[in-house]
């Protein structure tokens, strides 16, 4: 079977019928037929009422994508993806939504409960069609007004295209060019929506740009595009994703995130990714091919990535920092947990260009069941990067003897004043540790959760407080069934 999943059954039913080519002009339609072509790209752009330049940009990406070959260097295996067997634009399927939590998969509800997610939010995450959505909209509006008061622009990418085209045009593709890589190029051609944030000069964003994002995130779709710009001296902390597993019908995800930090600006970007990992036998699950990159353009700027990756059948993701500005700082803190038949190939790239640039990488990989977990990271010091510093620590924890943990660092240094250090270790949960915990009354599952959380502590403590608590629980849940 081709590695795509039918997006929306109802749409399928319609498109199997007489519907043929007229859809391009018919922008009232809520769907496009299967497959990818210039017409589809035009359709998406028209549907979103985009300016000509953006359509041209999408088309350039699409044409370039046709010349590209899907990368195969990552340590992940999956059946070939038939890109013509997917839907690239469709409206959410409201009719099929559960009417109440009673109709939702009890397994999902059990997880929500363990995570301690409030009932209202459970409904939204599970896609229950209830009025609660309107609550969130009003909450959102309140925040939006408060942010607007200090000049922060925060909203959907589509809105930004309409309301702040000059900013979008200036920065879109400036960190991840449309021709960057196979999946980013695909995204550039067909992205539907995502988030946009602009923090003006000298403003310290007073709240995590997440407070209501969790709710809004439920429908960001398959080709998400995010752009965050931090002007001189500004600060923003952005939270993406959700600890709760989300209802999602798309198997292939190819998101692009671009961050730009100017002089003295700081962006903190935290992700918790908990998409459907497939069942115990490795059937189903999301393919997550993401390009995330931040440019520290200004002097003394800082970009910090924190990620907790527990979901998806396949994770292909390397949040990176281009350290252009002198004294700029890049950080990458990562926890990647794979269980059952999950595969993760994730890490970072730190490109040192400016003087006295510094980077820190702390990656914790946990592998259980039959999973394969790879850290792949690049630290590159260019000739210009006088005084560059990097410290990398990669630790792997294996649970069971059928899984794999791999570490593939690339270190390339062209400046002698650089100091680059990389360390990696591999360990397992010791029988003595488990027994000690059990002797104090903890169940094996709780003991594993506690030990793994201890192992990940350096990373989890980077998360904003309220998020960290849920993430800790998530770590335990992700490893259920891995011991005993």
């Amino acid at each position: 079977m081709a590695a795509t999943v039918d997006t929306v059954e109802t749409v399928k039913a319609l498109s199997d019928g007489d519907y043929k080519y007229g859809f391009v002009s018919d922008i009232e339609a809520d769907f496009a037929p299967k497959g990818l072509s210039e017409d589809i790209v035009r359709f998406i752009s028209a549907k979103k009422d985009e300016p000509e330049w953006l359509l041209e940009w999408r088309l350039k990406a699409y044409r370039h994508w046709l010349t590209m070959v899907e990368p195969n260097w990552a340590r992940v295996g999956y059946p070939p993806i038939d890109y013509q067997d997917s839907y690239y634009y469709s409206a959410p399927k409201t009719q099929d939504r559960p009417k109440s939590l009673d109709e939702v998969d009890p397994e999902l509800l059990r997880t929500y409960e363990k995570l301690g997610i409030p009932l209202k939010e459970q409904e939204m995450l599970a896609g229950v069609a209830v009025d609660a959505v309107f609550d969130s909209v009003s909450v959102a509006t309140t925040f939006k007004e408060k942010l607007a008061g200090i000049g922060v622009i925060f909203g959907s990418f589509s809105d930004a295209v309409q309301e702040h085209p000059e900013l979008v045009r200036k920065y879109l593709g400036s960190v991840v060019p449309y021709a960057d890589n196979f999946f980013a190029t695909l995204n550039s051609a067909v992205f539907t929506d995502g988030s946009f944030a602009y923090i003006p000069k000298g403003v310290r964003c007073p709240m995590e740009l997440s407070t209501y994002f969790r709710i809004n995130a439920a429908n960001t779709g398959q080709f998400e595009r995010t752009l965050i710009i931090a002007e001189e001296g500004s600060y923003v902390s952005y939270l993406e994703g959700c600890t709760a597993p989300m209802r999602d019908e798309n198997q292939l995800h190819a998101a692009v995130v671009e961050l730009i930090a100017l002089d003295d600006a700081e962006i903190k970007y935290s992700t918790v990714q908990n998409w459907y990992p497939g069942d115990k036998n490795g059937k189903g699950g999301i393919y997550n091919f993401v390009t995330k990159r931040g440019a520290c353009r200004g002097r003394n700027s800082k970009i910090s990535w924190t990620q907790v990756e527990t979901g998806s059948a396949i994770t292909w993701k390397y949040p990176s920092c281009i350290l252009q500005g002198d004294n700029s700082v890049g950080e990458f803190f990562s926890v990647a947990i794979t269980n059952n038949y999950q595969q993760a190939d994730t890490g970072t790239k730190m490109i040192h260009i400016g003087k006295n640039t510094r980077s820190t990488i702390i990656a914790k990989g946990i592998s259980a069941g039959h999973a394969q977990n790879t850290y792949r990271g690049l630290v590159r010091v260019l000739k210009s990067a006088e005084g560059a510093r990097n410290h990398t620590q990669c630790d792997s924890l294996l649970i069971g003897d059928a899984c794999g943990a791999h570490t593939v660092p690339y270190i390339e240094v062209k400046n002698r004043s650089a100091q680059i250090e990389h360390e990696a270790t591999t360990s397992k949960i010791g029988d003595d540790q488990l027994f000690y915990c059990q002797q104090r009354g903890l169940s094996a599952e709780d003991a594993v959760s506690m030990i793994v959380n201890g192992f990940c502590k350096q990373v989890l403590q980077q998360l904003p407080m309220e998020f960290a608590v849920e993430a800790q629980k998530l770590v335990g849940i992700s490893l259920e069934g891995s011991v005993g």
Partner: protein, 251 residues
């Protein structure tokens, strides 16, 4: 409280315990003495349910129930506490958090309310003070970088907090200087009571100067070769294990 009958235990097919009979009653403190390799720690692990110890014969009753049927955490929740000879390090997990998780797991099992953060902290602080423990220690990862004395005091603190019915203390005195020994002994003595049984496992008699046992047993080569009152410990101290070993060989 605890009744061990003709217990035989093998590790990797080799018999270590060769027929132990031992009864420890409510409110009693027993000392189990023996040379290295006599099977003392094996007995402790078997009582706590560690994997890899095969009971080939005999039975262990705890409060009238078959202890050997229970999983390690069930034994702990039922009130069996093992003070480890070598407490295990768990990086990244603060000693305090571990203790809280353990105490609440046991309380929940007993049908008691979980302690809230404030009550818990107050309780820990009081108990730690009695053991002359630095509160900062509990913020550090469990046993990681603790000195030998700190580890042992932390074991006793856990015991005090968990409030077990049967405490098995495996070489709690090893690696302690005399001051630390006195503190640990005082901690154990404070827990003596009519509802609790304590089994002290030790190589040396010196601990028994501070915790006076009701009964003393000498374990040699997997068998209890002699039992007696507290004077027996002095006898061991005086003559070493040689006479007991010799008797064993002759037999």
């Amino acid at each position: 409280m605890l009744e061990i009958r003709n217990l035989h235990v093998a590790v990797d097919g080799k018999e270590i315990l060769k027929g132990i009979d031992l009864a420890v009653g409510r409110g009693e403190v027993h000392a189990l003495m023996g040379p290295n390799g006599s099977g003392k720690s094996t007995l402790a692990y078997v009582l706590a349910g560690r994997e890899g110890y095969e009971v080939t014969k005999g039975e262990v009753l705890y409060q009238g129930r078959n202890l050997l049927d229970l999983a390690p955490e069930e034994r702990a929740r039922e009130g069996v506490f093992l003070g480890f000879q070598y407490p295990v390090e768990i990086p990244g997990v603060a000693a305090m958090n571990f203790l809280k998780a353990a105490v609440n797991a046991v309380r929940k099992h007993r049908g008691e309310d979980e302690l809230d953060a404030i009550d818990f902290l107050k309780l820990v602080r009081d108990k730690a003070k009695a053991l002359k423990m630095d509160g900062e220690l509990l913020k550090r990862p469990l046993n990681v970088g603790f000195s030998g004395g700190e580890k042992k005091r932390n074991e006793i603190l856990q015991m005090a907090m968990i409030d077990p019915r049967l405490a098995v203390l495996d070489e709690t005195d090893s690696g302690l200087d005399i001051d630390a020994l006195k503190i640990v002994a005082a901690g154990v003595n404070a827990l003596r009571g009519p509802e609790r049984a304590i089994l002290l496992i030790t190589h040396y008699q010196r601990l028994l100067n501070y915790i006076v046992p009701d009964r003393v047993h000498v374990l040699v080569d997997g068998r209890i070769v002699k039992s007696g009152g507290k004077k027996l410990a002095l006898e061991v101290d005086d003559q070493g294990y040689e006479p007991f070993t010799a008797g064993e060989k002759a037999a």
